[in-house]
Every structure is written in C-alpha cells, then in structure tokens.
C-alpha cells in the first residue's frame, strides 16, 4: 500500500478494483475532480483535502481510515 512522496498512503487502486473494477474516470466523476487528480492521489503525488478524502471514502462505502493511512516514517 505504500506510495512514495506523500504523507499519506492509500489503497484507492485496490478499492477501485474491489468495487466493480471502477475506472479512475468513474471515481473522478463521482467525487467531482479530474482523472489526473485521482492518478496523482493514487501515486502519492498529491494529498487530497479533507472533504475530498471523505467523498472518496463515501464512494467506496467505507471509512476514511480504511482508505488513507498516515505515513509516519
């Protein structure tokens, strides 16, 4: 689950595949951002804001802690 260059680790890619193989574009449309933003989040190059993180978690029907993990290294 570890991704580089970010304070947050995430498992968005796995959750997308677990939720009917959702595409990045599908997820982007549902949370109101661009596909490039979803890509950047998955690759750990961008840390989402709190509202966006909550919207992502809500889309997957899970809690924010199960989507994002603080990187304390």
């Amino acid at each position: 689950m570890k991704v580089p260059n970010s304070e947050l680790n995430n498992c968005i890619r796995r959750l997308r595949f677990d939720n009917g193989r959702m595409t990045q574009q599908d997820l982007a449309d549902r949370v109101g951002v661009t596909r490039q933003t979803i890509i950047a989040i998955e690759q750990g190059k961008y840390s989402p804001s709190l509202p966006l993180a909550f919207r992502i978690a809500k889309t997957f029907g899970t809690t924010i802690e199960q989507v994002f993990e603080l990187n304390e290294c």
């Binding site: 951002v33 661009t34 490039q36 933003t37 690759q43 190059k45 989402p48 966006l52």
Partner: protein, 144 residues
Amino acid sequence: MNRLQKSAWLNLAFVTAMVIFCGIIFSVMVLLRVPGGIIGLVSFIISSAVFGLISFMIYRKKGIEAKFDERELKINARAKLWALGILFFFLAYICVGPFFFLGAKAHIPVYVLPLIFLGSLFISQLVHSAVILIRCMLEDESAE
C-alpha cells in the same frame, strides 16, 4: 488536454497576441513621431477601454478557471507565484540595470517604458503558462 492546460494555452495566446499588437501600434507611433499631450492621452484612454472591453468579454465567457478542481487550483496558484517571482526579478534587472550599465546621468527614450510594461506582461504570462504545462506534462508521463 485538461481544463488547466487549455486555460494556460488560451492565456498565453491572448497575451502574446496582445503584446504583438500593442508592440506594432507603439512602433508605428514612434516611427510616425506621434505627438504627446492631449492626442496621446485620448489615444491611451480609448485603446485601454477597447482592450479592457475585449478582455472582459473573453474572460467572462471563458469561465474555465471557475471549474478547476482543488489540485488544479493549487497548481494554478503555484504557477502564479512563480510568475510573480520571475516578474519581480525581470523588473528589478530592467529598471535597475541601466543605472549601472549606462550611468546615473544617462537618458532613455520614453517609448522604452511601454515596452517594459509589455515585456513584463508577456514574461509573467509565459512563466505562468509554462509552469502549468510542464507540470501537466510531467504528470502525464508518469500516469498509467
């Protein structure tokens, strides 16, 4: 091409066209030795009003930046910061440089001033658009 890239290209194209157009007008006025005074002031007011109206019509209809998501807003803000920084250095060297190169008692023609303004405008927009486009290009290369 996403909204951010489109916005960067549109702004760069508009500013470039405006700088070229104004540069041509100023060059013609310098070559024709257009007199200053009331004629120059009225010309300046009219051209500023026309340019302001065109800008308002273009940017009011564009509305692209209003639809940026949070990441694009951050990239745009960072690009504006870079543009401001480069603009500062450009103006510093352009305005202070001649003092050292030409000496304290030297004179420069008045038409240099609008050229400095146009140059500043072009350089700041060039940097702003370049930062956005380079950032988007680097992200596209690493995208799946």
